[in-house]
């Protein structure tokens, strides 16, 4: 089973040179730490920044410079600032190449649920619905099962949907899976030491397994 850091590290391998990328809160934020230094990519913060740099040193903290998780951040050479309408114009207009975000559930046709649990306090969807409705390529970072062992990869989402038919790939603590255009989770890679059988048993939705499934590698 992968740690959160390992999930982030595996997702970082999906990043391609020249991409503009939006990273959600949680595990996705960690991905930034593992993107190869050989790649030129630009991270977007949906509150109005292209070119997120590392967290500031104590003397560089600026309350007027935060990310979408409200954390203090820095800029990099070549950064640009803009307003929220422009930020979502970028997202909605398909200019962001890759969106990485967390999920509570994903269905076998690529629906995602990650904003609301009925009966619990509703905090709001923030930018998630805009991102999932607009991004060209969405990779989900998530735990394969809930704490009480229920699969979160389902035939249909049970929680309120954030967006439909939008997820392209999932990196969980157990596996890398792609969503088939015809529906179904295509198993692509196993976490080190995790068997195909375990993944199959913990995937409630339709799982498609073809040929030998390799173990993940981390450079």
């Amino acid at each position: 089973m992968l740690t959160k850091e390992q999930i982030a590290k595996r997702i970082a391998k999906e990043v391609k040179n020249g991409q503009y990328i939006n990273l959600g809160i949680g595990i996705p934020t960690l991905v930034a730490n593992y993107i190869s230094k050989n790649l030129d990519v630009v991270l977007q913060s949906e509150n109005g920044l292209l070119g997120i740099g590392p967290f500031p040193t104590e003397d560089k903290v600026d309350p007027d410079l935060i990310n979408a998780g409200k954390q203090t951040i820095t800029m990099v050479p070549g950064s640009a600032l803009f307003n929220s309408a422009e930020s979502f114009a970028m997202i909605r207009g398909g200019h962001v190449h890759l969106t990485i975000l967390g999920a509570m559930e994903v269905s076998e046709n690529g629906d995602i649920a990650n904003w609301k649990i009925p009966g619990k306090m509703v905090k709001g969807m923030g930018g998630a619905m805009d991102l999932v409705a607009s991004a060209k390529n969405i990779i989900v970072a998530m735990q394969h099962c809930s704490k009480d062992g229920q699969s979160k990869l389902l035939a249909e989402c049970t929680l309120p949907i954030t967006g439909i038919k939008c997820v392209k790939k999932i990196v969980s603590d157990l596996a890398v899976l792609e969503i088939s255009p015809n529906g179904g989770f295509i198993l692509k890679e196993r976490a080190p030491g995790v068997s195909v059988e375990e993944i199959r048993s913990k995937t409630a939705g339709k799982i498609l397994i073809e040929g030998e499934i390799p173990e993940m590698t981390f450079e």
């Binding site: 913060s45 949906e46 509150n47 109005g48 920044l49 590392p54 967290f55 500031p56 040193t57 104590e58 903290v61 600026d62 309350p63 007027d64 410079l65 935060i66 990310n67 998780g69 409200k70 954390q71 203090t72 951040i73 600032l81 803009f82 307003n83 929220s84 309408a85 930020s87 979502f88 114009a89 997202i91 909605r92 629906d111 306090m121 509703v122 905090k123 709001g124 969807m125 923030g126 930018g127 998630a128 619905m129 805009d130 409705a133 607009s134 309120p160 949907i161 954030t162 967006g163 439909i164 038919k165």
Partner: protein, 231 residues
């Protein structure tokens, strides 16, 4: 050039009535109109509908207005980080209308720009789509969303001039420019107010035509929600 200067926050918000629709710039606690929020606390008004991406925290920002029970309804995209908010919501004292962040930004932009409705893919297939027109364009489904406009909008800028021209700083810009344009009366508080002609016309983020009142704020706290540092 037309002079929009008022003395201070108290004068700027003096005629904001109960039960009006109010927009407030800011993302989290960044770029919020601290002075006007303080001045509003002194006014005997209630029943406000506030359009703001977030709802502040318990003891800062819009959270202060909530605590004084001045707010009837919040129109926001994300309202976590606020226990009093949660209490009022669960007890039915407060209404909340949750809107995807990009849709919120665009609805406010549309309000200022005279676009009564537009189509966006955000929310298709979700409960956000309930009761909304759904339409296919070029093989993809979209929701029709309406503009948002307000009686007053209150924004916070870094620099401003007496003609109402505004320049924002960093990510404190966020929703402020769209809200400036979408308020019937826009009140701008700025960290530094200069004479018309001192700002470079090429660098202005919000042209003065959108701003009806402007003043130089005092004692900005600029509280940080998540101080995150590297070593």
């Amino acid at each position: 050039m037309i002079n929009k200067t008022v003395k201070n926050a108290a004068e700027a918000v003096a005629d904001i009535p109960s039960h009006c629709m109010l927009m407030m710039g800011g993302f989290g606690l960044s770029g919020i109109p601290e002075n006007c929020i303080q001045a509003l606390l002194e006014r005997p008004i209630s029943g406000l509908t506030i359009v703001s991406n977030n709802a502040g925290v318990d003891d800062f920002g819009i959270g202060l207005l909530l605590k004084k029970r001045m707010v009837k309804k919040m129109i926001s995209s994300y309202v976590g980080e606020n226990a009093e908010f949660e209490r009022q919501l669960l007890s039915g004292e407060l209404e909340v209308d949750l809107i995807p962040q990009g849709t919120l930004a665009e609805r406010v932009r549309a309000g200022g720009a005279g676009i009564p409705a537009f189509f966006t893919p955000a929310g298709v297939g979700t409960e956000v789509a309930t009761g909304k027109e759904i339409r296919e364009f070029d093989g993809k489904l979209y929701l029709m969303e309406r503009w948002l406009r307000a009686d007053f909008s209150i924004v916070k800028a870094w620099k401003g001039d007496t003609a109402g021209n505004l320049i924002f700083k960093g990510t404190a810009r966020n929703f402020n420019p769209m809200m400036a344009a979408a308020g019937k009366i826009c009140i701008a508080e700025v960290e530094e107010l200069v004479e018309a002609g001192e700002l470079d016309p090429n660098q202005i983020h919000t042209p003065g035509i959108y701003v009806q009142r402007i003043f130089q704020g005092v004692n900005y706290e600029k509280r940080i929600e998540q101080r995150t540092v590297s070593h």
